[in-house]
Symmetry: C2
Subunit: 289 residues, 2 copies
């Protein structure tokens, strides 16, 4: 039974990667050449394997576009299995008895050239140990102080999109997921939020696999629809050097968060994950003046 569920989830994550990349390339092509230059970027796809010695441990496909509108965007699919290190296994539900795991997911981080177009992050995943669950979420990171408010139209649109993903699903608790996101994407050392929030959920297993999977699919689709709308609405605005400077500095917070606190990043880097893919989330240019 679980074999079929793994397969369905992985097929979905891989197809979502393709849909997102196609949609982002379309925006990239539609960008105004007076603002972004004449040449649209294209995604480069790079397959990787978790272990050179054991191809059965799976791997993934890294998608990276260094474009004109999308200054740097990673859209990655992975499907891996292996054994958790002992001390990590203790922290993972169902892995204390048996440290073997299977995991598949898709993750997106977009850093935009135009400081008026917010950066974004989305990830959904399905994990199997002796237990199994979905997790994921999406959050929006505007880089200009003027846009980093809950009243900003982009923030309202993003929250509305994430709520729409939750509402039809009895297994999803929007209010809880929204709070969880605010709590997670917070920089304690600066006492600052990373962005304007979104949703975050983990260890979702309601007992109805099909329902949890349907919700997780809707998170991906709602993200895609909402974020492309936000980009389309902002991309024609021109920007000033001062705004670009503000963006490059704000990106430093992104780096601080990912390297100091983000569980996926620090775990991946400290336990031999795919460094190139993990660090593709780093912004292309950053300033700490």
């Amino acid at each position: 039974m679980i074999q079929k569920q793994k397969q369905d989830a992985a097929i979905w994550f891989e197809s979502l990667q393709k849909q997102i990349c196609a949609a982002f390339e379309k925006l990239e092509q539609a960008a105004d050449e007076n603002l972004y230059g004449p040449t649209p970027g294209k995604f480069q796809f790079e397959p990787w394997v978790r272990s050179d010695k054991d191809p059965k441990q799976g791997g993934g496909i890294s998608g990276l576009m260094r474009g004109r509108l999308f200054e740097k965007v990673g859209v990655h699919f992975s499907k891996v299995n292996g054994t958790f290190p002992a001390d990590y296994a203790r922290q993972i539900p169902g892995a204390d008895e048996d440290p073997r795991f299977w995991a598949s997911g898709v993750s997106v981080i977009a850093h935009m050239r135009n400081p008026r177009v917010p950066a974004v992050h989305m990830n959904t995943r399905y994990i199997v140990t002796t237990q199994d669950w979905f997790g994921g979420g999406g959050d929006l990171t505007p880089t200009l102080a003027a846009q980093r408010t809950q009243e900003n139209p982009d923030a309202l649109a993003f929250h509305a999109g994430m709520k729409e993903a939750c509402t039809p699903h009895a297994c999803a608790d929007y209010d809880r997921y929204k709070d969880w996101c605010d709590e997670y994407f917070h920089l304690p050392h600066r006492d600052e939020p990373r962005g304007i929030g979104g949703i975050f959920y983990d260890r979702l297993n309601s007992g109805d696999w099909a329902a949890d999977f349907a919700f997780t699919k809707d998170v991906g689709l709602a993200f895609l629809r909402t974020y492309t709308d936000i980009v389309r609405g902002r991309m024609s605005e021109s920007w000033t050097d001062t705004e670009r400077e503000e963006q490059l500095i704000l990106r430093g917070r992104y780096v601080e968060f990912n390297l100091l606190y983000d569980r996926g990043t620090t775990f991946g880097l400290k336990t031999g994950g795919n460094v190139k893919t993990i660090l593709s989330s780093m912004p292309p240019i950053v300033k700490w003046p």
Copy 2:
């Protein structure tokens, strides 16, 4: 007795801060205006206190210069006391019985505009719990692959300077401190050294306080002499855009090291240290292309 030792150490660290800043400003002024522009930078000094509520917990003086040759350099003095959080106290010699501590030190991180002039880090400190010890070291981080070898003249000069600081002192074990530095300043996720090394030592208490202090003073002076020589020898070389690009990317490794691994940085940020001073070590511009 320990009061006098604390006082002597703190007076030295503060005077070393002043000497280093004066020497760096002299180099900054001597820089060729054709390469670096017409206006030399100056250090801005900013006093800070560890606790607004309790001025008796001390503080420090942050020195920061955003210059033309020194693109961004921090030279910081601190003298603080307080109580370690319980879980941290367990890791600190002498703090398990009594979590109170006193600490003073000086730290330097220089990021240079010219990619041919290596970046550098130096720190020396004196810590008192129910035990007391000196620690510190210095390491050089050239940013161009061509200079990141042990045979490079700057590397040879830096190692020679650090060795000179150790040799006259029976309490100092140069070979061990050199290895310790290589081991500490290493990025496991990339399996790369941060720079070309130097020395690193900690928990030095030979039983002869005056000897340990004399050695620690010599580390600071040897650093100052050696690094200013290296800068003076390199600063007239012009550089290419390709070299600048290489430098900005290599600086990313510095960020990764400091936020993922550096004990001082992560401890400071996670336990309410002076964020502005701690993060003044971040390079002014960085690229992850």
